[in-house]
């Protein structure tokens, strides 16, 4: 199994499109770092000027944690697109290249082929999130150092001391991996249904965008639909930056997202096993 996963990883990292994802995240991280180097102080002053009317405070709010937090907020829309570029191609790409039958005629079961491809997709997702953490939080800490994290919410303002932040980021990135794994699983499912990678990429993004729009419409039956939209749970990492943390909500979101990953993979496996491979 390890060998097949290695082969699948080799396939992923041999393709140029894989590096589009890493390149985009790298560019995004560096651009935010440069913007913060140039405008960071003004940004912090603007954000805290009303607070300064009522409170005197000392501390360093322009730091690596703030960069990490700001970049994590791009997770809902932008990162899923970068993941679908690879995950949507994993099975459909074999069909496009005409290597499906060749691949499945090897003495490895369909289930193992499917599992190895999915695990490789998850490893890619993990590496992408790890890279995101490195270019935002890692480089942010190198350039700006540590400090207090100031979190603005509609209902309150939370300030976390520097020694109380790192564990939150660790859990947030693990959660980000889990929520992006749902995108991987969804794109993987769509990829198993068609013979061209464009379809799964567009379909996955369409689902994400439609779900996000539905979640933001607060009327009629749509509000009853919200709990059933997986996108609704993708931002739950934000609860980790509350004080105290509502772990029940966090764990609930983890369970729901994990069930989505398992469910989507289960459906893919069911369909793929029965699928008539013609290419």
């Amino acid at each position: 199994m390890f060998t097949i996963i290695s082969i699948e990883l080799y396939k992923i990292f041999r393709k140029l499109r894989t590096y589009i994802s890493f390149g985009t995240i790298g560019l995004l991280g560096i651009l935010i770092l440069i913007a913060m180097l140039v405008e960071g102080k003004g940004y912090i002053d603007m954000a805290t000027h009303k607070l300064k009317d009522s409170f005197s405070f000392v501390g360093n709010f322009l730091n690596g944690y703030l960069i990490g937090y700001l970049v994590l907020n791009t997770l809902t829309i932008h990162i899923p697109f970068l993941i679908t570029l690879v995950a949507g191609d994993m099975l459909a790409g074999e069909a496009t290249a005409g290597t499906y039958r060749l691949l499945l005629s090897r003495p490895v079961s369909r289930s193992n082929v499917l599992a190895s491809k999915f695990i490789a997709g998850l490893i890619f997702t993990f590496l992408l999130i790890f890279f995101l953490a490195f270019v935002s939080l890692g480089l942010g800490l190198i350039v700006f150092g540590t400090g207090e994290l100031i979190v603005f919410r509609p209902e309150n303002l939370v300030i976390l001391t520097s020694n109380d932040v790192l564990w939150r980021f660790l859990l947030a990135y693990l959660f980000a991996f889990l929520s992006m794994s749902v995108i991987t699983a969804l794109a993987f499912l769509f990829s198993s249904l068609v013979e061209n990678a464009i379809g799964p990429i567009v379909a996955t993004m369409a689902v994400v965008i439609v779900f996000l729009i539905l979640a933001n419409l607060d009327f009629g039956f749509l509000k009853y639909l919200k709990p059933y939209l997986f996108t609704n749970y993708m931002t739950t990492w934000n609860t980790l930056f509350d004080n105290p943390v509502d772990f029940s909500e966090f764990i609930k979101a983890c369970r729901i997202l994990a069930l989505h990953v398992a469910g989507l993979y289960g459906v893919t496996w069911f369909l793929f096993r029965k699928r008539d491979i013609l290419t």
């Binding site: 009522s54 400090g147 300030i159």
Partner: protein, 230 residues
Amino acid sequence: MKKILLLIFITCSFALAQNVKPETLIRKVKENFAKVKDYEVDAHIHINVDFLKVPETDAKIYFKQPDKVKLSSSQFAMIPSEGLNFSPMSFFKGNYSAVFVRNENYTGFNTAVIKIVPLDDDKDIILSTVWIDMDYFIVRKTEITTKSKGTYALLLNYDVGKTKYYLPVSMTFLFDVKTDNLHGKFGNNKDTDKNGQKKKSMKGSASITYSNYKVNKGIPDSIFKDDKKK
């Protein structure tokens, strides 16, 4: 008989009240605090506001007469601006009119309640009510109403008799500030109207415990210069 006694009591109270000159009390409070040229103190700060979640923090506060004050910490520290300086000098600054209101037993201490109305139009403070300890001539409590920052109160506790100077060992700062959204640039501004005029009430308190006073040791002015981190 009861009516006569009541009449005598009211007459005596009124006569006693007239004998308490607010200017004298304020002068004695000022003289008391003027003995403190400067101080450095460790402060443990706990802020309790509904929509502001901040950890308890430790900081150092520097004060130098007449009104230089500085909050300093190697880490994060936060304190309500009006609670940073408990110097009575700040209440009795500029032109004002002081009126004795009544004597009051405030938390077991014999105090005189004095209302202070600033006479300068440019002052933000509209009215201050000060509870002055009649035995030690220290301020036990202050309630201040301002034009722009709502109302706030400072409740001061002293360890009288144990220290040479009458400086508080703890302070509770209560505030009810009308403010628009604290979120600044990237916040949700649902609570403000189109003109940004609608303001909401921010009630809360801050408890500050002071320890390790270093009084009249000489603090250089450079300490009070703003650093870039603030």
